[in-house]
Symmetry: C2
Subunit: 168 residues, 2 copies
DNA sequence: CAGAACTTCATGCAAACGCATACACTTTGG
DNA sequence: CCAAAGTGTATGCGTTTGCATGAAGTTCTG
C-alpha cells in the first residue's frame, strides 16, 4: 500500500519539475544556452578542481555520448577547456574558462530571480527548507549517484553552487 | 535572502528528479517506450474523454511540434487514435487505443514497483505525503499550468492516474 | 608479465528535438 | 458579412540525442 504513496510523491515531484522548468524556459532564463548546457556549466562552477567527464555525466540527465559532444561544443564556444587526466590516460578533465564562468554567473543571477519569483509566493521559507531536506534524502536513494566514495575530495566537495551564491 | 532558500529548494528538487529518473531509465522501466512517450500515454490514461493536443502539451516537457510528431508515431504504432474535434475544426483529439491502454498499465505496474523500491527506504510515508503536498503547491505557481479554467470538465478531471492505481 | 576483463571516452548513424514558419480554422471588430 | 487578428496544428530544416560500437587505457589473474 505504501507503493501508492511513493508513486503519488514521484508523480507530484515530477510534474512540479516539469511545470517549473517550463516556466524557466518560457522566460528564457538560460539564454543563450540550453537548460542542459547551463546545467553543465553550473555543475562545473561548483567544483574547484577540473572534473572528470564521467562525474559530470552522473549529475546531468544525458547519455555519455551526448555529454561528450556537448562538451565538445562548449569547448569550441570557448566556455570550457578539456585536458587529459595525468593519473589516468583515458580520463578527460573539464573546467570552465573565464568566459564560461562569467556566462554561468550571469545566467545564474537571472535564473535565481526567476526561481524566487515562482517559489516564494507559494511556499514559506520553512516549507522550502523541508522540501530541500526531503528531496535531499531522495538523492541518497540506491544507485551510483549518492555521496559515495569515488574521487577523493575533488568534484563532489562543495557541490551546492560556487558559494551558495547563485543556482542552477 | 529568501531567494537563496528558493534556489536551494529548486536545485535539490531538480537533482532529485534527475537522480531518480536516471535510475528508472537504467532499470528500463519504460521499455519499449521512451520515458516521454510513456508520459503521454500515462497522461491520456488519466483522462476519460479524448484530450486536446494543446492540453497534452501543457503536461509534457516537449515543444508543440515535437509532441505533434510523437503523437503521429504513437498513432502509427497503434497506441493512440487521433480525431478532429467537432466543436473546433482545427483541434485534434487524442485518446488511447486498447493496445495503448494495456501497454500503459503494464509499464505502469513495473514502474510503480521501481518507484517504491527507491523511495520507501529513504522517506517515511508521512514524509512522502509532505513531499506530495509541497510539490503540489509548486504546480500552482504562476503560468499556464495551474488548475485554471480551460476545457470544462474534461481532461483535467481526475488527473492522478486512471484510479490512483499505477503511476507515471 | 602476458592476456583477459573492465573502464572511459569518441564516433557512425538513424531517430527525435526545437525553431521558424506555413496552413487551417475561429473569433473579433467595423 | 467581410477583413483582421488570434488560436491550434503541421511541416521544412538544421541541430542534438541515444544506441551500438570502436579505440585507448587500466586493472585483474594466472
Amino acid at each position: 500500500m505504501s507503493a501508492r504513496s511513493a508513486a503519488l510523491a514521484w508523480e507530484s515531484l515530477f510534474r512540479a519539475q516539469v511545470h517549473l522548468m517550463r516556466q524557466f524556459e518560457a522566460a528564457k532564463d538560460f539564454r543563450p544556452l540550453s537548460s542542459r548546457e547551463y546545467d553543465v556549466l553550473f555543475t562545473l562552477s561548483g567544483s574547484e578542481a577540473p572534473m572528470r567527464l564521467r562525474d559530470l555525466n552522473a549529475h546531468v540527465l544525458l547519455s555519455q555520448p551526448s555529454l561528450s559532444r556537448m562538451v565538445d561544443r562548449l569547448a569550441a564556444a570557448g566556455l570550457v577547456r578539456r585536458s587529459t587526466a595525468d593519473d589516468d590516460g583515458r580520463g578527460v578533465l573539464v573546467c570552465l574558462t573565464g568566459a564560461g564562468a562569467q556566462l554561468q554567473k550571469e545566467i545564474g543571477r537571472r535564473h535565481v530571480r526567476s526561481i524566487a519569483a515562482l517559489i516564494d509566493p507559494v511556499l514559506t521559507e520553512e516549507e522550502q527548507a523541508v522540501l530541500t531536506e526531503l528531496t535531499g534524502k531522495l538523492k541518497s536513494a540506491a544507485g551510483g549517484g549518492g555521496p559515495s566514495a569515488r574521487s577523493v575530495g575533488g568534484p563532489s566537495a562543495g557541490s551546492v553552487g560556487s558559494a551558495g551564491e547563485e543556482d542552477r
